[in-house]
Symmetry: C2
Subunit: 413 residues, 2 copies
């Protein structure tokens, strides 16, 4: 075995089972000892036990030539920041257990998509490395601060690599925490990890880079638009929702059309806010005393009361046009009198809350429940978390108003 090969080199490996050609990949925290990891031209990563290697030839010294022993190549074009937070897009299979774990360094991420350097001069950074089901409001604060810092220190745009489970929540959070955006903040993830042939990681990341060097002045989510690899949708960060557990086109904007499309070679934006002059402003705090509550036929006053007692505000995903059982209205009313905020959205997800049609809706309005228009329940939850941490009053008024494209200024409020 040729021990002179560097990470990033194109190599050809011969074993008894055949000859494999590809890019030598860096090892990572969970790599098994005694293996070599190669990215094939097909996109597959394969692992080859070192003791099965009969010969390894360096075909092209990409790594050494670019002077990147262990470092990713410096790109051309605008400077952007790639902030890694974990998730499938930066995950590796733990070869000991077969489970998927988050990558431990942004170098590993950069290396898996070397084409990124053809779009931008990327500075990568691991902010933290957690699967997105573990992202909490305090992580939103750190992402917001980090993105603002990058944009205010000369980066043209920011990519945030994020797990898909809660990417919609985090993107919505940054859309409220950041204002006067002087560059794009682009969330990107993947539904299939990069060691799988059907992975969407590379295309999503390259498309996100195209959006990151555009004139967008918003927080966006860039993910596959269809199950084929034709293009990605650019979603407004507070309008988008993961609507399938595994499909690559899982991300959908239920109540608005995407603000653009992107692909590895370019981007087309339609109906978007352009980047502003001056510095980004950041107000990164979020309350963790807000609950998102799903209405269901058997919900008891007792459970609703116990949730409200432990919260400063709640967002209800009500039924239909924005309803809960009449028997729960008294409980809501008494907590609203005590200063709690209750916002109504719909578990239908599509369409808008309208609490003037039926008597139940009108009674909820009378009790002081704030109608959430066509906001997604998740977005309303994040918005209320931000409002309670940053505003001294006028919470209800703030929730009814369109702040960052998250709702139609509604007819029904």
């Amino acid at each position: 075995m040729d021990n002179d090969a560097s990470t990033g080199d194109r190599v050809e490996i011969r074993t008894e089972k055949g000859v494999y050609s590809g890019i030598l990949m860096p090892k990572h925290a969970f790599s098994r000892e005694g293996i070599v990891l190669i990215k094939l031209d097909s996109g597959y990563n394969i692992t080859i036990p070192e003791d099965e290697i009969l010969e390894m030839k360096i075909v092209e010294r990409i790594g050494k030539r670019k002077g990147i022993t262990g470092k990713a190549p410096r790109g051309i074009g605008p400077k952007i920041a790639l902030i890694n937070t974990g998730g499938t897009i930066a995950s590796y299979v733990d070869y000991r257990t077969g489970a998927v774990h988050p990558a431990m360094s942004s170098e590993e991420l950069l290396f898996s998509v070397l084409e990124l350097s053809g779009i931008a001069d990327v500075e990568a950074d691991v902010l933290f490395s957690v699967l997105s089901e573990n992202i909490k409001p305090k992580h939103w604060s750190r992402m917001a601060e980090k993105a603002a810092e990058a944009l205010n220190s000369g980066k043209e745009g920011v990519i945030i690599a994020h797990g898909t489970d809660t990417m919609g929540y985090s993107a919505a959070a940054l859309s409220f925490a950041l204002s006067n955006l002087n560059g794009p903040v682009v969330f990107v993830g993947s539904q299939r990890s990069s060691d799988r042939p059907s992975s969407d990681a590379t295309m999503n990341l390259l498309s996100a880079a195209q959006v990151a060097v555009s004139n967008l002045g918003e927080v966006a989510v860039v993910m596959h638009a269809s199950t084929s690899d034709d293009y990605c949708h650019v979603h407004r960060g507070n309008r988008v929702r993961k609507m399938h557990t595994s499909r690559r086109d899982a991300f959908v904007s239920p109540n608005s059309r995407p603000i653009g499309k992107a692909w590895p070679e370019g981007v087309e934006l339609y109906d978007h806010r352009k980047k502003s002059d001056g510095d980004v402003e950041v107000r990164p705090d979020f309350s963790d005393k807000v609950a998102l509550v799903y209405a269901y036929p058997g919900m008891s006053e007792d459970i609703l009361d116990s949730i409200l007692s432990r919260s400063d505000g709640i967002v209800i995903a009500g039924t239909g046009l924005g309803h809960v059982k009449e028997s729960l209205i008294g409980t809501l009313k008494s907590h609203i009198k005590d200063g709690k905020t209750v916002v109504m959205t719909s578990q239908c997800l599509y369409g808008t809350v309208n609490m003037n049609v039926y008597s139940t809706g009108r009674d909820l309005i009378k009790a002081g429940v704030v109608p959430g228009g066509d906001m997604l329940p998740e977005t309303a939850y994040v918005k209320l978390s931000w409002a309670l941490a940053n505003l001294d009053g006028g919470i209800a008024e703030f929730m009814r108003r369109n702040i960052a494209g998250e709702m139609e200024e509604a007819r029904y409020l």
Copy 2:
């Protein structure tokens, strides 16, 4: 004014504003005094103040001729039961306040769709009259008993007129409470009340009647398939969900295709269970100690603990493939040890839970959380409510098994 006119008669009314021709409708509990209600051929209901009527002529004595002063016409064909539970399909505008209220009698419902008598011999009954946001598990029990009673006393099929907000929950409930179905149980509702020109009430009800006289042996939901009036979808009762607050085609089966289509003149079923011989069996009990819990980034152990303390079981709408924050797993585990059941579904709604891919999912499995496959969160909630009221043990095993078409026998369980 011709006081001889009966409800159901075709009349022509002349006022200073014009001449109106249509069917004289019955008054209902919330009708304003001193008005006359006419169903125009367009489908509109209009109200005319009695003191503005210059002349009212009886054009055709439909009411008297059929001997139905205050009673709907006896239909032809198979005998079916129409069980009214309330909701928009049976709602009227309260002319004093402009709000919509549930109808108080099934006669009013029958009268608004006189064409029903061309499909079946309908026996209508008001079981209760509540807007569907107020439907509780005890109402599911009464609907199940009433449907079984109708089918076991010679009715070919049953239509249940129900508000749309929680129709999916109720249909799922009856799919578990009723077995060995010897006829169809068809839920139907409308998204626009019958006094509006865009109402879907008539077409949905007639299509439901076609399904009620078919050979279906399942609980179904029949609602508009598109925004035009071309046909209705026949959804399996435990696979369907209201996915829009107001559109007429709001009902969707996210993880399976509808089991048929229906229209006022006929029905076409594809992949359905046929009606059985013998009597329907009914086990109508449901636990009201089950909670449906939506996972969100800021959820505290304290809130989850307080919900579990008040429940015998919960269904979580987790993120992605079926996750919650790792910090919540300990709380789940300790309650599962105490005998509580925790079932995992996905807030993505589309796709299936798979808790073997990521470490969080595997840890949840180890803690004893039951994967819910591709069941809707609402269906899993209803199924667990039924299981806890009817089974002595084997709850987890029951939840994993396909009982009434509610899930794919899953690869990932």
